[in-house]
């Protein structure tokens, strides 16, 4: 079985690299490697009775089934981006940006703290860094630009704060998925998660944007687009208030408020934007453009789901998990800050049940505090959202902020110091989880 899994793993990697060499996109390369790994498994492991096409037990069923693993996440990406694009097109972003620059341009520390808070809220409520980028990233990015932060550092700041917002409580999808897999109640995580994510977000914002010059109001205003006539604070705030109200209602009145899901919440909030807009919005055009822009992101999520299913089918997923959990604890402490972000880049949220569950069980066995340890891991995972092949949040940040520099040479490089800070904090939380268990109240 070991030889079989190693062979499939090799086939998947080789076909992926070959496809990339042939200049296929990351999505298509991954799809090719998924199919290759699956076909190899069908012929190399006949005992499963698996066939490629024949219904009842076909490889095709596994590929299609896997493709729907992140269906909900894709819907959230699309609906959240649609919402934010409508806000932009209605002139709301320009209005808010101008107001923030006008009010806070001379008080940099307060301004940065408020911007960090603005970045943290959407991800904390949804568990999605991409949602944070897509809803408030462009807005905050524009303010940073007006504050004299260069393109590279502001894109890095948006990514890092978005990553920390995804890790922030109350919703941390990695912790929730791993806890569910290990039958650990999702309770007591708020303390350790808030300490780590807020510390990481504040450090990132000040490290990356703390040193800029004070914005020249006249210059900044000149560069910012003029909002349409008739727009005011109430019209701009109404969709956000409505969005926040829907998000909070499900938590404040969980037994009275209907479960409508995040995609519907964003869709309804989009309706409010359209109703409150001072200009006539080309809704159909904005919608099709949004979907077209997000196709690479959605494509990655779809194919990653199929890849994971084939890896699980052929035993490769088990092999990877096994090799991780049999590492000595000291080695894990010394390597998790690399393993977790890298695996997140490959597998996205699926990494939580894949690596998180065996690791929680291992930590439990070793007498560590599972809640603190899982919280630390759940803050490390989103750091990998700028890493290939998925790089979902990183790509979203680059796309939203229209970053024109080099992805790795400039953007990822600028993130390294804040990442190291977060990694250090999380590793300390892992090592001293027992001593920090008081945070898990």
């Amino acid at each position: 079985m070991f030889a079989h899994a190693y062979t499939i793993l090799a086939a998947v990697v080789v076909v992926f690299l070959l496809a990339k060499t042939l200049r296929l996109s990351t999505e298509l390369s991954m799809l090719a490697s998924t199919v290759a790994g699956g076909v190899w498994h069908v012929f190399a492991w006949p005992g499963s009775g698996l066939r490629i096409f024949v219904p009842d037990n076909s490889l095709l069923r596994h590929i299609v089934e896997g493709m729907f693993t992140y269906f909900d996440v894709c819907l959230i990406f699309i609906s959240a981006t649609f919402f934010m694009t409508l806000v932009k097109e209605s002139g709301g972003v320009a209005f808010i940006v101008r107001r923030i620059v006008k009010t806070f341009r001379t008080r940099r520390v307060v301004c940065l703290l408020l911007l960090t808070l603005v970045m943290l809220i959407p991800g904390a409520l949804t568990g999605s860094g991409a949602t944070a980028v897509l809803t408030v990233g462009a807005l905050v990015g524009t303010v940073l630009s007006a504050m004299g932060v260069d393109d590279t550092r502001r894109t890095a700041a948006i990514f890092m704060t978005a990553a920390m917002s995804a890790a922030a409580p109350p919703i941390n999808l990695w912790a929730m998925m791993a806890a569910a897999g290990a039958n650990l109640p999702y309770v007591g995580f708020n303390g350790p998660l808030v300490v780590l994510s807020v510390a990481g977000a504040v450090f990132s914002m000040f490290w990356l944007a703390g040193g800029g010059k004070t914005a020249d109001e006249e210059e900044a205003m000149k560069n910012l687009p003029m909002p349409p006539e008739g727009i005011n604070g109430i019209r701009v705030a109404a969709p956000f208030v409505f969005l926040a109200a829907l998000l909070l209602a499900g938590r404040v009145w969980p037994f009275d408020f209907p479960v409508i899901g995040l995609p519907m919440i964003f869709a309804l909030s989009s309706l409010v934007v359209i109703l409150c807009s001072g200009v006539r919005l080309k809704v159909w055009e904005i919608l099709t453009r949004t979907v077209r822009n997000l196709l690479p992101l959605v494509g990655i999520m779809v194919v990653v789901g199929a890849l994971i299913q084939i890896l699980a089918l052929s035993g490769v997923r088990g092999l990877i998990s096994l090799k991780v959990v049999i590492l000595p604890l000291s080695t894990l402490f010394a390597t998790l800050f690399v393993i977790l972000p890298v695996s997140e880049g490959i597998l996205q949220y699926a990494v939580a049940p894949l690596l998180g569950v065996p690791l929680i069980m291992l930590f439990n066995m070793k007498g560590m505090d599972a809640i603190v340890a899982l919280s630390a891991m759940s803050v490390l995972w989103p750091l990998g959202d700028c890493l290939p092949p998925t790089a979902v949040v990183g790509r979203a940040a680059v796309m939203e902020l229209d970053f024109r520099g080099r992805y790795f040479g400039d953007f990822v490089k600028a993130c390294l110091v804040p990442m190291a800070f977060v990694a250090l904090c999380c590793t300390l939380f892992l090592i001293y989880s027992k001593q920090l268990s008081f945070l898990a109240f």
Binding site: M1, D56, S58, L60, G315
Partner: protein, 386 residues
């Protein structure tokens, strides 16, 4: 037509072909009906919608098999299929329905407690759609399914699942997990309404003891054990001692139901009804994330090199060797544990005693295999379908 459009057209063709082939399999699983032969003591088959009308017409309007001796006594209820990815529950439940003879009291069995969860396979896990048990008359086939209800029946999930009535926050997908939604809500989502209906049955029919059948990965600490509510601790402790001393090669433990962990049958049924509630766990290597090739053989034979390797590193809570955890061992353990708990309950509360015969115990199931106790539908007088 230019080259790009030809490529696009070909891609659409491949996608449609894949969708058609996959759809045939998805529909085959969703529409497959499991045949249950009504055994000698089955006096009635009720629908859960009798106890929660909103379930009528939904996949979770499940059958409730009632075996009534016609003699005074208590009522014991057994739930199979709470988590369909744990196949021992439905198999053991079928064996009870098809073989049990009630001599006192009543035995109530649900073979598919969360039927919706058995109608689809979990994305990303590569589970087989079906599993089969060999019998003298051929193969008996079941749907495998997922841990939680199908999104086709309950969608979307909330951002976070807030458990009623404790307000404990749980993972969003657990709102479709039957063993996280007890005691349920009449106006909740499908799975919450299912547990609400089951609770109504338990209260109205004065169930004395609820037994919930499960399996667990070997990496999970709650393994090969009986988890008991305070009211059932004596029964669980005695059963654990007797089974370990007299029957099982691998001991069965006993654990207290945690008071702070909500939504589980062993906690909420005990808290919100007069019934004692207990839950059984047995090792199932296919549930381990570190498993190797995922297929029906692994599910039924319970043999896996990767899990054995993990055991060598001390990462497991159950012993694991090349013999694995075959289905006959797992089914046998659950059946013996059910019978033992019923015996002890009857001994402790003679006025509410339940006497069952005709059900095989551990040694007999291992010797003959579970298929030996599954009846041929072609020869059956009365059947039902799940």
């Amino acid at each position: 037509m230019d080259r790009t459009n030809r490529i696009k057209l070909a891609a659409v063709g491949v996608a449609v072909l894949a969708a058609v082939v996959a759809s045939v399999e998805f529909l085959a699983m969703r529409n497959y009906r499991e045949t249950v032969i009504l055994g000698p003591s089955v006096s009635e088959v009720r629908k859960l919608s009798q106890y929660e009308p909103s379930l009528s017409g939904t996949p979770n309007d499940v059958n409730i098999y009632i075996m009534d001796s016609g003699k005074p006594g208590g009522t014991v209820m057994v739930l199979g299929g709470t988590h369909p990815e744990e196949p021992v529950g439905p198999i053991a439940a079928h064996i009870l329905v098809e073989n049990a003879r009630l001599e006192a009291g009543r035995l109530v069995v649900v073979t598919r407690a969360n039927r919706s969860a058995s109608l689809y396979s979990r994305n990303g896990e590569a589970y087989p759609n079906f599993f089969r048990v060999k019998t003298d008359w051929g193969e008996k086939k079941w749907r495998l399914g997922d841990r939680g209800g199908s999104p086709l029946d309950s969608w979307p999930d909330p951002e976070v699942y807030v458990h009623w009535p404790s307000h404990q926050m749980l993972a969003y997908m657990d709102i479709r997990n039957l063993n996280r939604t007890w005691p349920g809500r009449a106006d909740g989502l499908l799975t919450e309404r299912t547990t609400f209906g089951l609770m109504n049955f338990i209260r109205q029919e004065k169930v004395d003891m609820l037994i919930d059948l499960h399996e667990a990965e070997l990496e999970y600490p709650v393994e090969n054990t009986i988890v008991a509510h305070e009211k059932a601790q004596e029964i669980a402790a005695m059963a654990s001692m007797m089974l370990t001393a007299q029957e099982f090669a691998v001991p069965i433990g006993m654990e207290f139901s945690p008071k702070a962990l909500h939504g589980l049958s062993h906690r909420e049924v005990g808290d919100y009804s007069e019934a004692m509630s207990i839950l059984f766990e047995v090792a199932e290597p296919m549930l381990d994330r570190i498993r190797g090739v995922t297929d029906e053989s692994l599910l039924m034979e319970g043999k896996d090199d990767f899990v054995v390797e993990a055991g060598k590193h001390g990462l497991l809570y159950a012993p694991m060797d090349e013999k694995g955890w075959p289905i006959e061992v797992r089914v046998g353990r659950h059946l013996s544990t059910i019978l033992q708990c019923i015996d002890i309950f009857s001994m402790m509360t003679p006025d509410r005693s339940v006497t069952v015969s005709g059900v095989p115990r551990y040694a007999e199931v291992i010797e003959k295999g579970p298929g030996a106790f599954l009846k041929d539908p072609a020869q059956a007088e009365k059947i039902a379908q799940d």
